[in-house]
Amino acid sequence: MNSMYLAVGYSCNHHCFFCPIGDKSRKAKAASTEDLIEVVDRGIRDDHIDHITISGGEPTLHPGLHDILAHCTENGLRATILTNGDRFHDRQFTHDLFESLDHSRISVVSAIHSPYPGLHDHVTGSAGSQERTIQGLKNLIACHIPFTVKQVISRWNFRDLPEFVRFVYREFGPYSALTLCGMDFCGMNEADTREVAVSYSEIRPNLEKALDYIEENRETRGGFPLVTVADLPLCTVDPYYWKYFAMVSRGRLKRYSAPYSAAETGKDEIRSSEEVWNDCDIYFQQCRECCVKDQCPGTWRSAFEHFGETAVKAFHKF
């Protein structure tokens, strides 16, 4: 798959505690629809992309999102929208956004940070946001737009992983895929990182319990259409659970494009980087000695820098 990552702008209606955007002062609120479509065309023409991830900031705040999606799908791309899902709670907005688009080529990924509204809203810095996102995702079902609920595992929510999985199934039935993933501390200061970072060994029992529930749920109720554990190393869990792990962030993108406020001119422009490598890979010495290093999703560089060498454990051939 040739994939491109497109940030349409950095406006956002949430204020997430672990937002990875970092220093927003040099980043433009939004790029024009015309400029963004031109960047997509460049990706199709020069890099032969067949998939695009549309992100931000919050991409649903961009008034040209419908036109950008239409352009992508009409040109044969599959598009994944990374969104907090908040605006989808407005049924008319959601209907208007997706009407006339090829639904089979679009999917949505939204993070829910906790089964408990108070914690989710604390993370997003937006009162009532969990309820709006839940309703927004239910509105996607009515529009036949497939979606994935994602949880980024932190010290605040790792104990609730089994309950979180039950909660997602309770809310969305078989209509939501599920992704449980490790956190990238990129863009966070050391104090904030200490506040939310949780070691892989602490995550282990809770993640395994959550995956046990997923298996039981699949046998008894049909389960989620897809379950993925991402951005965590294989040594987080017993090898029995590796079948859930996916190589999502390790590796390269074809093109990364995002708007910046150019300091020299004061004008906003879209800057692109080609052949970008994600900061998720094999960084630890233990990893280099591990017999499954080639199969491992890896860890975020920021996690390596925070936890140090003792965070992972090499597997050896049996």
Binding site: V8, G9, S11, N13, A28, K29, A30, A31, S32, T33, E34, H51, L61, H62, P63, G64, D67, R78, S104, S107, A127, G128, R132, Q135, K138, I141, H144, P146, G173, P174, Y175, A177, T179, G222, G223, F224, P225, L226, V227, A230, L234, D238, P239, Y240, W242, K243, Y244, F245, A246, M247, V248, P259, D268, C291, V292, Q295, C296, P297, K317, F318
Partner: protein, 98 residues
């Protein structure tokens, strides 16, 4: 060629590590999809199978009570917070688009 296996404490025996073991996540057997491209071929299976039956369940089942919660719950107080906070300042700051 050496066969790669690792020991699973959960099941008390070695597990063979295969090329396809890690890479796509796991889905219910009938709806196997690749995580990185699950909207590609996957949605053909999706719409052709459980979705059809699923939509009936959807309308008959869990959304009914869901919509009651929708109208009776968060909307009232939610909209006050919603309009009173981010949207005012947020849209003023929003400069881009067509």
């Amino acid at each position: 060629m050496d066969r790669l296996s690792v020991f699973s404490e959960k099941i008390g025996r070695p597990i063979a590590v295969t090329d396809g073991m890690v890479g796509g996540g796991i889905s219910t057997g009938a709806f196997r999809m690749e995580a990185a491209s699950w909207s590609d071929g996957g949605w053909n299976n999706y719409s052709g199978s459980w979705l059809d039956n699923g939509w009936n369940n959807y309308s008959d089942g869990w959304t009914d009570s869901g919509w009651n919660n929708y109208s009776g719950g968060w909307v009232d107080s939610g909209w006050n917070n919603y309009s009173g906070s981010w949207s005012d300042g947020g849209w003023n700051n929003y400069s881009g688009g067509k």
